[in-house]
Each structure stands twice: as structure tokens, then as C-alpha cells.
């Protein structure tokens, strides 16, 4: 179908009255990986929160459609049910709620009654294994006292268990050591190779290109000052790696001037 895809059109959003997103156009097709790169403060995380419906982010204009469904009309939980998943840069702790209980509740909410408890257990143990996580993890409270790496692994575990239509990974690589990054890469690739995740489209928000060594991108977009200033193939990430953002900033400034 032609309207399939996570389609962001002319999206403008503000935080505390200040316009941060100044018109974003970006389409993530099913099964494709798009990388969104840019320097700190360019608005990458704002895009993630605006799409998922965080109450602090005010939409000024534009639209976000998921396989044709207008996400901006929906409450945050309904956006998740529609098939959107956000891996948080700073996931919140939920003391007193176990990882197992939380993931089971989330899975049931997004995909009601599709997995009997025994299958759920089998599936979660498989995913834990791919992520090099101890099963004891399941009885801990969600993100409560977790290290940075544990938090990111838990985000990946949820991603693998929920199997959304589209996943936004907000700085999942930040603060991770090489081992953890490899685990994250393995988990995402395992999901993309499995039946339930083949069609999942990814938007990987990152400052550094290194995560793309583990999860190869089909397209790379560069964001600066609330706009996408350049889009290209995977080679664009290598340009950033070699030359940093300054070169592109100059290029864009030159173009405008």
C-alpha cells in the first residue's frame, strides 16, 4: 500500500514556547533503517518526544502518519498501540514494578491476547539471551537502580518483545561500552531477521556514527537547528565520522548565503 510508512510532514514543535522543530519532512518505510544525525541541541530528541506525545512538547504544525493513521490526534498510549515505539535516551524508573510485569503489561496492551504466558516466557528468555542479560533481571524493578547500560538493554528487550511497526531509538548508543553496543546491535538485527520484526522501520537518532557499524542504515539525515539539512545514503555517516558536523554546517550556511 502506498500510504505505508512513518511519514513526518512539515512537523513544527515547541518546548516552553520556544520553537525547536521548524518543519521536518522524513519518511521511514517498513523494514528500512533511517539514521537521524546531528550535533547536540539540533532538535533530534524533540522530534522523538513530539512524535510520541510527551505533554511538554507542543505541536505547532505539520503531521505524523503511521501507515496512514494520524498519530498527532492520538494519546501517547494509543500511538504505541498504533505501532510506534520509542527507546528513551533517559528511561524513567518505576519502583515497585517488576520488569517482567511491565513488559507483559505493555505487550498485552499493544498486542492483546496474542501470546499465552508460556510462550511469553519462552520468548523473553530468548531475547534476554541475545542481549546477554541475566534472567534475574526480570524480577528487578523497572530501571530502578539500573546502570546506564542496563537501562539501554532493557529498552532493547522491550523493543524485541513489543515488536512495533516503527521504532525510534533515541541516542541508544550514548554511554554504552563496546560490549553493550554489540549486544544492542545483535538484538536489533535478530529482531529484523525474525518474522515479527522484518517489517519494522527504524529511526535511529544518534550523535555518533558508530552505532551504524552494528545496525547498517539505508539512509542518513543530518539535522541542524530544527531542520533536516542534508539527506543521503549510508556514506553520509562516514563523512560525519571523518569531518564532523562543521563541514556540513559551513556547506549549509554557504548554500543559504
Amino acid at each position: 500500500m502506498s500510504n505505508r510508512g512513518l511519514v513526518i510532514s512539515g512537523l513544527r514543535a515547541a518546548v516552553e514556547g520556544k520553537e525547536i522543530l521548524k518543519g521536518i519532512d522524513l519518511t521511514v518505510e517498513p523494514g528500512k533503517v533511517h539514521a537521524l544525525m546531528g550535533p547536540n541541541g539540533s532538535g533530534k530528541s524533540t522530534l522523538a518526544f513530539a512524535m510520541t506525545g510527551h505533554p511538554n512538547y507542543e505541536i505547532l504544525g505539520g503531521s505524523v502518519k503511521l501507515d496512514g493513521e494520524d498519530l498527532l490526534e492520538l494519546a501517547p498510549d494509543k500511538r504505541a498501540k498504533a505501532g510506534l515505539f520509542l527507546s528513551f535516551q533517559y528511561p524513567a524508573a518505576i519502583p515497585g514494578v517488576s520488569v517482567a510485569n511491565f513488559i507483559r503489561t505493555a505487550r498485552m496492551a499493544v498486542r492483546p491476547d496474542d501470546l499465552p504466558p508460556a510462550k511469553f516466557r519462552q520468548m523473553i528468555f530468548e531475547k534476554l539471551d541475545v542481549l546477554d542479560m541475566d534472567p534475574a533481571f526480570l524480577s528487578r524493578y523497572v530501571n530502578d537502580g539500573f546502570s546506564g547500560g542496563e537501562k539501554k538493554r532493557l529498552e532493547m528487550l522491550q523493543l524485541a518483545m513489543i515488536q512495533p511497526k516503527y521504532a525510534v531509538l533515541d541516542e541508544t548508543d550514548s554511554g554504552l561500552d563496546v560490549d553493550a553496543l554489540q549486544s544492542v546491535g545483535r538484538s536489533v538485527n535478530a529482531m529484523r531477521n525474525a518474522d515479527g520484526g522484518k517489517d519494522t522501520g527504524f529511526l535511529i537518532i544518534t550523535h555518533y556514527p558508530r552505532i551504524l557499524q552494528y545496525i547498517p542504515a539505508d539512509a542518513v539525515h543530518i539535522m541542524m537547528d530544527g531542520r533536516i539539512v542534508k539527506s543521503g545514503g549510508p556514506e553520509l555517516a562516514n563523512v560525519i565520522e571523518r569531518e564532523g558536523y562543521d563541514k556540513i554546517r559551513d556547506e549549509v550556511a554557504g548554500g543559504v548565503a
Partner: protein
């Protein structure tokens, strides 16, 4: 079939001395069996004290509407005595099978069930360990006068607390639990107080628990049932050297009931006292927990939670008195309020001058789930010794927006997310309650409180 009961209706109970006359007459007629562990002089002294003692917690104001001077005492039914019945009834007439039904016929080491202040006596004896005593307090004072005289009204502050004085003046039921040296009970002893919608019962229980050296026991005190009972009681726990007592209170009284409880423990050398308190019901619930660490190595733990919704008021005061050195205490309180519920917590730690090497901690966290709900937290540490460790921390706040958003972003509906986070908030205290079954019961009860709330939000 009734074996012996009596009741009078006292109207416009102030509570006045003439009401006390009537109650004393009733108890005299009923004899020792109906609950006269307190003599007449003590009752009159106690009532005089009630009139003179200050109202605890000060006058009503912002954040606390309840006026203790206007606790309605009208039309109370003073039932006393006992009812013979064929089998032990399920103690609470509840439609929800998951809660309110302590298994008195199984999984316990004995117990007593009351309807109002009337003891329900099953024809079939409870499986009480022959070495222990579980008796109505009045029976114990007849059969074990020395033991009762040594332990009854010895540690509860009935001369200094207004409502402990009231409980003493009108004492009309109670229990005596004695576990001798070295006896270890695995199953709990259950003391149940239920009420019926038909009667506005006056229930003034006095529970005395005595553990000999090295003994171990769990005593569970439960309030359940329907009707706007007035409960005003005392618990005294004597924990012998090296003994361990878990005292559990699950208060799920009718939404119109008013419940006052003063609980006190004295811990000898190396003894451990653990209080577990869940205040969930009642229009007004006031609890005092006083623990005195009297011997070196004594340890006290208090784990309390309350959930106040509708127009409920819950007040809790804990005091841990480190009378000697090398003693430890640890108090953890979690509370939540919805609708127009109000709560307040007074947490006190006293470390006396000679109590070197003591270690005390006090932690209390309150969650406000509606903009009209209110909880106050008032910790007080009084430390006269050097070389001690003392910690206290308190928070009062609403539900964290980012936590809520995180759950929402996973597809969990707002109401479910709020419920999940609010229940999770209580887990650190629930985890300290003994037994899976009890913990699940508390979770179910809290879940129901959330169902009943008309206003819950971040």
C-alpha cells in the same frame, strides 16, 4: 445459639461519666467473663484523664479537617459477652473472596473472632498449640492472674495519651497471647474484630502479647466488616530476651467506622519487634506505635502503609525509644491519598544519653494522587547520645510525569499506568510484610482502593 450476651444502648455519649456507670454496671452483671480486666477505679481514673489530656496533633486546620473533640459517640451499642456458634464463621461478610477472609480454620496457631465486642465462640476448638495461651483477656485474668497483672497496662501510655485513656476506661473485650520461652510458632495467631451493619458497635479491645525468651510468633490483628463502629483499643507487646515478634495489623473497617489504636512494645536484650501496619478502611483511623528498646541488641522494625481516599482521615504516630546502647530501629512508611483524603504522619526517634552505638533510621514517603488530597509528614529526632547513627528522610509529592509518560509510551492506558505506578510505590513496604498470602491480600486491597477512588491523576 447465644450462650451469654448483653447489650445496652447509650445515647448521646459524650463520653460522660454516667455512660461509664452504665458500662461498669453491665460489665459487673456479666462478670469477669465479659471483659473486666480493668477495675472500676482505674476506669474512672482513665475517663478523668481522657477529659484532661490534650487533643493529639493540635486543632483541625489546613490539611486536617477532623476534630477529635467531635468524634460522634452517639447511639453506641455496648455489646459484651460471648456467642456460642457451631463453627467458626468467616470473619468478614465480604463479597470479594480475595480479601477479608483470614483462614481461621486452617493456617493459624489459634485465634479469636469478635462481632463488635462480642466474642464468637466456635463449638469446635481451634488448633491451639498446648504450650501457648490464646484467651479472651478477661478469661486470662481469671485463669492466669499473675501473668496478666504483670503485663496488662504496663507499657501502653494510657496515662499520657487521650485515646489510650479512653480505651482503658471502656475496655470491653480483648485477648491475651502468651508464648513461653523457646517456643517457635510458624503459623500466625489471628485476632479478628468484625462489625455488622445492624449495630453501631462500641469496641474497646485490649490485646496483650507476651513472648518468653527466645520465643517466636506472629500475631495478626484484623478489623473488617460493615457498619460505623467505634473502635478504641490498646495493644501491649512484651518481647523477651532474644524473642521475635511480628505484629501485623490489617485495618479494613467500614468506610464509616472510627478507629483509634495505641500499640506499645518493650524489647528486652537481643529481642526483635516487627510492626506491620496496613491502614485501609475507616472514616477516621488513628494509630500510635511506641517501641521501647530496653535491652542491648534489641531491634525494632516498623513497616506501615496507609491509603486515604474519599473523605478519609488517617493519622499515624511512630515513636522508637532507644533507651540503651547497641540498639537498632528501622521505620519505613508509605502513604497515598486520593480524592479529599487526608493523612498525617508523626515519626519520632529518641536516643537517650546512655544509648551509645545505637542505629536508627526513619523513612517516609507520601504520594498525592489528587489535587485535593493532603498528607503531612512530621519527623522528629531527639538524640542525646554521641557515637550513634541516625537517619531520617521524608518526601511528599505527586506522581512523576516522566514515569507516567514512560508507561504510556509503552501502550499502557493512562488509568492502568497510574494504578501500576501507585501500587508499585507501596511495594517497598509490602515486601516487608510476612508471607506471600498476606502480601497479595494487601496488594488486592490497595487495588480496590484505587478502584474506589473518584479522582486519581499525576
Amino acid at each position: 445459639m447465644p450462650s451469654s450476651t448483653a447489650s445496652i444502648a447509650a445515647t448521646a455519649f459524650a463520653p460522660a461519666a454516667d455512660t461509664l456507670d452504665t458500662v461498669i454496671d453491665l460489665i459487673a452483671r456479666e462478670g469477669v467473663r465479659s471483659g473486666s480486666a480493668v477495675d472500676e477505679t482505674t476506669r474512672r481514673d482513665a475517663l478523668a484523664l481522657f477529659a484532661d489530656l490534650p487533643v493529639p496533633g493540635g486543632r483541625p486546620g489546613r490539611g486536617w479537617r477532623y476534630d477529635y473533640d467531635n468524634v460522634p459517640f452517639d447511639d453506641l451499642q455496648w455489646m459484651t459477652g460471648r456467642l456460642g456458634i457451631a463453627t467458626m464463621p468467616l470473619p468478614a461478610p465480604s463479597s470479594d473472596p480475595a480479601i477479608d477472609r483470614p483462614a481461621l480454620e486452617t493456617d493459624n496457631a489459634g485465634g479469636l473472632v469478635h462481632l463488635g465486642a462480642t466474642l464468637l465462640e466456635p463449638a469446635r476448638a481451634l488448633p491451639v498449640d498446648s504450650r501457648i495461651i490464646v484467651l479472651p483477656l478477661a478469661d486470662a485474668s481469671r485463669d492466669h492472674p499473675k501473668l496478666v497483672a504483670q503485663t496488662h497496662l504496663k507499657i501502653a501510655g494510657w496515662r499520657s495519651d487521650r485515646f489510650a485513656a479512653l480505651a482503658t476506661a471502656f475496655q470491653n473485650c480483648g485477648a491475651f497471647v502468651y508464648v513461653p520461652d523457646g517456643v517457635v510458632l510458624d503459623a500466625p495467631i489471628q485476632l479478628v474484630f468484625t462489625s455488622s451493619e445492624a449495630v453501631r458497635a462500641a469496641v474497646f479491645p485490649h490485646i496483650v502479647v507476651v513472648l518468653g525468651a527466645g520465643a517466636r510468633a506472629t500475631v495478626m490483628e484484623r478489623y473488617a466488616g460493615e457498619g460505623d463502629a467505634l473502635v478504641c483499643g490498646i495493644v501491649e507487646a512484651h518481647v523477651g530476651a532474644g524473642a521475635q515478634l511480628d505484629f501485623v495489623t490489617v485495618q479494613q473497617a467500614d468506610p464509616e467506622a472510627r478507629i483509634f489504636s495505641t500499640r506499645a512494645a518493650r524489647c528486652e536484650t537481643g529481642a526483635t519487634m516487627r510492626w506491620h501496619l496496613a491502614e485501609l478502611g475507616g472514616a477516621l483511623a488513628r494509630s500510635v506505635i511506641d517501641t521501647r528498646l530496653a535491652g542491648p541488641g534489641a531491634n525494632a522494625e516498623a513497616s506501615a502503609l496507609f491509603f486515604t481516599g474519599g473523605m478519609q482521615h488517617v493519622e499515624l504516630t511512630t515513636t522508637c525509644d532507644h533507651a540503651v546502647g547497641q540498639t537498632t530501629s528501622n521505620t519505613v512508611v508509605r502513604s497515598a491519598a486520593t480524592d479529599r483524603g487526608q493523612g498525617r504522619f508523626f515519626g519520632n526517634i529518641t536516643i537517650r544519653a546512655q544509648a551509645h552505638g545505637s542505629d536508627a533510621s526513619l523513612r517516609d514517603d507520601a504520594l498525592l494522587l489528587s489535587k485535593h488530597a493532603h498528607i503531612d509528614s512530621v519527623p522528629a529526632l531527639e538524640i542525646a547520645a554521641n557515637d550513634v547513627k541516625a537517619f531520617h528522610g521524608a518526601t511528599v509529592g505527586s506522581l512523576d510525569e516522566d514515569t507516567l509518560f514512560y508507561a504510556l509510551s509503552r501502550g499502557i492506558a493512562r488509568a492502568d499506568a497510574l494504578r501500576m505506578i501507585a501500587l508499585g510505590f507501596f511495594e517497598p513496604v509490602i515486601a516487608r510484610f510476612p508471607g506471600d498470602r498476606l502480601r497479595d491480600e494487601i496488594r488486592t486491597a490497595l487495588d480496590r482502593k484505587i478502584d474506589e477512588a473518584t479522582e486519581i491523576d499525576a
